[in-house]
């Protein structure tokens, strides 16, 4: 299968598993993976995979959106594994189709993304692992795709873009999807985006003036919404074997949301009758949060406190490579080395991802 086995690169001395690595699939590269009529649509309509939201990611062209480093497996290995020292990238396709208005088109895109990922990345190197993108508009179709992906040995979990799914993801509407994930031992990673903001938070999308406002809010709002919904609606009790990860919103939103929910739960327990524990306990037992983009308090000691409160048992290392707010692995590693014991460092860089994605490495 593999053309070359990566010799483990090290950041410090740790085996580094990166839980959030993105592709940026060019439209023309998806064409062969789509059936008609979608193939012709992708080739000829010029509408691409989803409507554009109009926001400028480049700060008026100040930084370039250059995705050459992720166009082939070789490029990604070179830029992320060799240059930045990541040993095992867990790759998602950055499929955003869960916020698209057209259901069948979204399902076609989902399958195309997954086949593209497997053919062009996961089958190329042994150390490349992947998440199957799942779109949420039709949970039965999502369940079928989870069943299809389960036989792929390099698929280690599912990836759900959670800025846009309607209703929120703890709703019983999605039970067949979660059942399929649980039956197939594929745990779930959520990834928000500013891209879905216009669907999830349309009033704010139309009234905020700058992209910095949208981007700062979009990721944590989406993760908060999903976490609250999964816990309060009892999804965490209905599917007890599933583990849940929240990518790309950093860490600090987690203590706030959990401690607030603890308080609300004790006041209004009968509105969350499936729960058997405190909300915080579900996080500690079943949930992970990815480090990137690591917040930047003015005092470094505040960062140590935040990491301590979230807990090194529940943090996954992630770069978000190759996006403009990615974190350099070396920087996080240095923070952690300064602040924590070696065992804590190993949990964050390696061990927690092994548990979350049930990896044998």
């Amino acid at each position: 299968m593999s053309q070359e086995v990566a010799s483990p690169d090290v950041v410090g001395d740790e085996l580094t598993i990166d839980s959030d690595v993105h592709l940026q699939i060019r439209h023309e590269d998806l064409v062969p993976y789509l059936d008609e009529p979608w193939r012709s649509r992708m080739k000829d309509s010029h509408t691409g995979q989803q409507p554009n939201d109009g926001w400028d990611r480049t700060v008026n062209g100040k930084f370039l959106m250059d995705f050459d480093s992720v166009q082939t497996a070789e490029d990604l290995k070179h830029s992320l594994c060799n240059d930045l020292g990541v040993d095992y990238p867990i790759i998602n396709t950055l499929g955003l189709m869960s916020r698209n208005p057209e259901n069948d088109w979204s399902v076609a895109l989902m399958k195309a993304h997954n086949d593209f990922l497997i053919d062009n990345f996961l089958d190329v190197y042994d150390n490349f692992l992947g998440l199957a993108t799942i779109t949420t508009q039709q949970p039965d179709k999502a369940a079928e795709e989870i069943d299809r992906m389960a036989s792929e040995e390099d698929i280690v979990g599912i990836y759900i873009h959670n800025t846009g799914p309607n209703p929120p993801l703890g709703d019983s509407f999605y039970d067949s999807m979660w059942e399929a994930a649980e039956d197939n031992d594929l745990n779930v990673a959520f990834h928000g985006s500013a891209d879905g903001f216009m669907f999830e938070f349309p009033r704010q999308n139309q009234s905020l003036n700058q992209f910095i406002e949208v981007h700062t809010l979009a990721h944590p709002w989406s993760q908060m919404l999903t976490m609250i919904s999964l816990i309060v609606e009892g999804t965490v009790e209905k599917f007890p074997d599933l583990r849940w990860a929240f990518l790309e919103a950093g860490l600090s939103w987690v203590p706030y949301m959990l401690f607030r929910l603890n308080k609300e739960y004790s006041m209004r327990r009968s509105e969350a009758p499936l729960l058997e524990k405190m909300p915080e306990e579900y996080f500690r037992e079943k949930m992970y949060v990815a480090s990137q983009p690591l917040e930047e308090p003015m005092a470094q000691t505040d960062l140590a406190k935040l990491i301590d409160v979230v807990g090194t048992d529940n943090i996954l290392f992630a770069t978000d490579y190759p996006h403009w707010d990615f974190d350099n692995p070396e920087t996080l590693n240095q923070h952690l080395q300064r602040m924590f014991d070696p065992e804590d460092l190993t949990k964050v860089m390696t061990q927690n991802a092994i548990e979350m994605f049930d990896l044998t490495i």
Binding site: N60, N328, E330
Partner: protein, 121 residues
């Protein structure tokens, strides 16, 4: 202090730069309006290659509290170095970071001698 001959004067035109390695450090030499400045190619934020980013202007604002009006200006064209990793802005003439207070790029003296650009380290 050691001196290094970086290039001939005419090899770095106005607005151009070269990035070179000296004693294991990546250093960039810029020609800013005919003056040469040199900085370590190492961003204070997350160690990115800040000297390889675009050189642009930037947006500034003034607030008139009498009339409750904000005026935006695009200004300092060709004076702002943008780190290509996450966009931190540096003043190309001084190396001072304008997006995080208290941060400056390490700089190196540069002079011209008989048409050569000489950097001291």
């Amino acid at each position: 202090m050691k001196e290094y001959n970086i290039a001939k004067e005419d090899e770095i035109g106005v607005g151009e730069r070269i990035v070179t390695e000296i004693e294991g450090r990546e250093i960039a030499v810029f020609n800013v309006d005919g003056e040469y400045v040199a900085y370590l190619n190492w961003c204070f934020h997350q160690a990115g290659p800040c000297c390889e980013g675009k050189v642009t202007g930037t947006t500034e604002a003034t607030w008139d509290s009498e009339n409750l009006t904000q005026t935006l200006t695009y200004t300092r064209e060709d004076e702002i170095l943008n780190c290509p990793w996450h966009g931190w802005e540096y003043d190309i003439q001084t190396g001072e970071c304008i997006s995080r207070s208290g941060v400056s790029l390490p700089s190196y003296p540069v002079r011209i001698e008989e048409g050569n650009i000489i950097l001291s380290l």
